[in-house]
């Protein structure tokens, strides 16, 4: 090991100021390049989606059901409806238990062993690839019931949402000052009322943000739906018993697995709609969060 002494410090190599300045300028240039690259990449992707997508969006596109190749009057309304149904049911399935689980981690399990184990499990679940969740739900619901269904897709999305909402809930609740809890308890409120009435209210905007961000993330997930909801050219009638059309799988079917220009165009249109929806959710989230900070 090198011994650090005062003499050692005195003998530190002298670098010329010019060299140091030059190095600094070079790195600044590199960081500008990196920013231009990442923002430019985003601009490029969004521009491509907008340019190709805008051409195919019209009233018919938005209101009629998808059809096999060659039939006139095809649209994406069934996929849009299917995606909406699936994401909403996923939210309904995932959010209540995730909030309760977050409460456990933040209020009862902050220091104990079980809390740490569960926190670790939540972290692991957040890192599980979404396609693995697809496989899991395939075996859990598709094999046992014997058919693909929109419901299976919703469960897969719910499993992806669950740890995300749970961890954000914990983080948000932990940020609420302890004094607030103690005041409520001192006034004679029960733990339950303290948590649900006081702590939750203080953390409301953070909780909503967490749920919305999880929703935005899940609404573009494709991989877990491939083996669960699959795709169909029909309106989502049998949500529990039949393959259900949805946007992400429509996009991948129409672009990757189709040689036809007209289907590519519809894929771009669907991509634009999805982007707009996600952008919309993000902007709402930002506004909510912004209000809180003021």
């Amino acid at each position: 090991m090198k011994k650090i002494t005062l003499t050692g410090l005195e003998q530190a190599p002298r670098r010329s100021t010019v060299f140091r300045r030059l190095w600094d300028v070079l790195l600044s240039a590199f960081s500008v390049f990196a920013i231009v690259l990442s923002v430019g990449g985003m601009g490029w992707i969004l521009y491509t989606v907008l340019r190709h997508g805008a051409e195919s969006i019209n009233w018919e596109f938005l209101t009629s059901s998808s059809k096999p190749y060659g039939e006139p009057g095809a649209g994406i309304a069934n996929a849009l409806l299917g995606s909406l149904l699936m994401t909403l049911s996923a939210t309904l399935i995932a959010v209540p238990p995730a909030l309760a689980g977050g409460i456990y981690l933040a209020e009862f399990g902050r220091e104990n062993r079980l809390g740490n184990v569960l926190r670790f499990c939540a972290n692991v679940m957040m890192g599980v690839p979404s396609i693995i969740v697809g496989l899991f739900v395939y075996v859990l619901l598709v094999v046992t019931t014997g058919h693909f269904s929109g419901f299976a897709g919703a469960v897969a999305l719910a499993i992806i949402m669950f740890p995300v909402v749970m961890r954000t809930t914990e983080d948000v609740l932990t940020m609420v000052p302890v004094t607030l809890r103690e005041s409520a308890l001192a006034l004679g409120m029960t733990r339950t009322r303290t948590t649900l009435g006081i702590v939750f209210r203080a953390a409301r905007s953070g909780l909503v943000t967490g749920v919305l961000l999880a929703l935005a993330r899940v609404s573009g997930e494709t991989a877990p739906l491939l083996f669960t909801a699959m795709f169909a050219d029909t309106w989502p009638g049998g949500f529990f018993s039949r393959p259900t059309a949805n946007m992400p799988v429509l996009i991948s079917e129409y672009t990757m697995n189709s040689p036809f220009e007209s289907m590519h165009a519809m894929g771009w249109g669907a991509a634009l709609i999805i982007c707009l929806l996600i952008l919309f959710i993000n902007i709402i989230t930002r506004t909510i969060f912004h209000e809180k900070q003021h």
Binding site: S28, V39, F136, R191, I251
Partner: protein, 308 residues
């Protein structure tokens, strides 16, 4: 009242336990469904590169190597870029930093299927027309000794390099956002002291900000790593989907997630079981990374005397 509290606590505990059931549940399911493949091929399944449905012979190596290859490429491209990008956002004035970090956050919200689509229709033709001929012929990498090993024999726009670039673009905003938050946490006093001593911006970053935020930095890299490993759609569109071991940057191949997405729906019997085995390998990889990350954070936390 006590009764109510007790019920509340148990309900919350029950919900939290769901997550504790889910993780072992996934392992158990993948393990049970892949038992047939493990029995047939043994542990050698991991490094056998053959995948032949006609002969009923399956091996994981092509997919595993492809996964590791694309992930390594993506990290190689994305880590330095996200690091300096985060640096720029932190150092730039407020009017510029806010819209920039907003952009980076939005970039993180674009679904991966759209990255894949963009890759297929924009990046693949671009790679085929310009980038690959340029690297291979103009720079003469192809004719160098070992060039074939580096690049592969021929090119058509698809392949590992394209997949690596798309993945890098995808994980860049994630990692950059985390690094940015970490850099922001450095106390301004420390940074200003460094400037006061005459350090340049880079020296301040290297000796002060980086030392202070090394945990968050590595945390960000781990998150990017996890995402790159398991990403399906963005890779599926541009990798070429050939179940072959990687030959070079331009050659087509597959990853675990892409193999699953491509073959699972039509498979049955031994092939399906082998696909589940692949899934188990991917799950173990991600689990390993998560454990390593947590352990590292724990370790550095303990060394710094922080209460975790």
């Amino acid at each position: 009242m006590q009764q109510q509290d007790r019920i509340f606590k148990w309900v919350c505990l029950g919900c939290a336990l769901l997550i504790g059931v889910l993780v072992p549940g996934i392992f158990l399911q993948l393990g049970l469904d892949s038992a047939e493949a493990w029995q047939k091929f043994g542990i050698g399944f991991l490094w056998s590169a053959e995948w032949d449905p006609a002969q009923e012979v399956y091996g994981a190596w092509a997919s595993v190597a492809g996964t590791l290859y694309t992930t390594a490429l993506a990290l190689l491209l994305a880590v330095p870029l996200s690091f300096v990008a985060a640096l720029f956002v932190v150092e730039s004035p407020g009017w510029l930093a806010r819209p920039l970090s907003y952009c980076v956050d939005l970039l993180a919200a674009i679904p991966s299927v759209i990255y894949g689509m963009w890759g297929l229709f924009v990046l693949v033709p671009l790679m085929q027309e310009y980038v690959q001929p340029f690297l291979g012929e103009t720079l003469g990498l192809m004719s160098l000794p070992g060039g074939e090993w580096l690049l592969g024999e021929h090119y058509n726009g698809f392949g590992f390099l394209t997949a690596g670039i798309i993945l890098a673009l995808m994980i860049l905003p994630y990692m950059s956002a985390i690094m940015r938050d970490v850099f922001r946490m450095t106390p301004p006093m420390l940074r200003e002291s460094a400037y006061g001593l005459g350090c340049t911006r880079w020296e301040t970053t290297r000796d002060v900000v980086l030392r202070y935020g090394i945990r968050g930095l590595l945390g960000g890299i781990f998150i990017g790593l996890g995402r790159a490993l398991g990403e399906t759609m963005a890779v599926l569109f541009v990798i070429g989907n050939l179940i072959e071991s990687p030959e070079g940057l331009f050659s087509g191949g597959t990853t675990i997630a892409a193999t699953l997405a491509c073959n699972f729906a039509e498979s049955d019997g031994l092939q399906r079981s082998s696909l589940f085995a692949l899934g188990l390998v991917l799950m173990l990889l991600c689990f390993g990374i998560q454990v390593a990350a947590q352990y590292y954070l724990h370790l550095t936390g303990a060394r710094r005397g922080e209460a975790r």
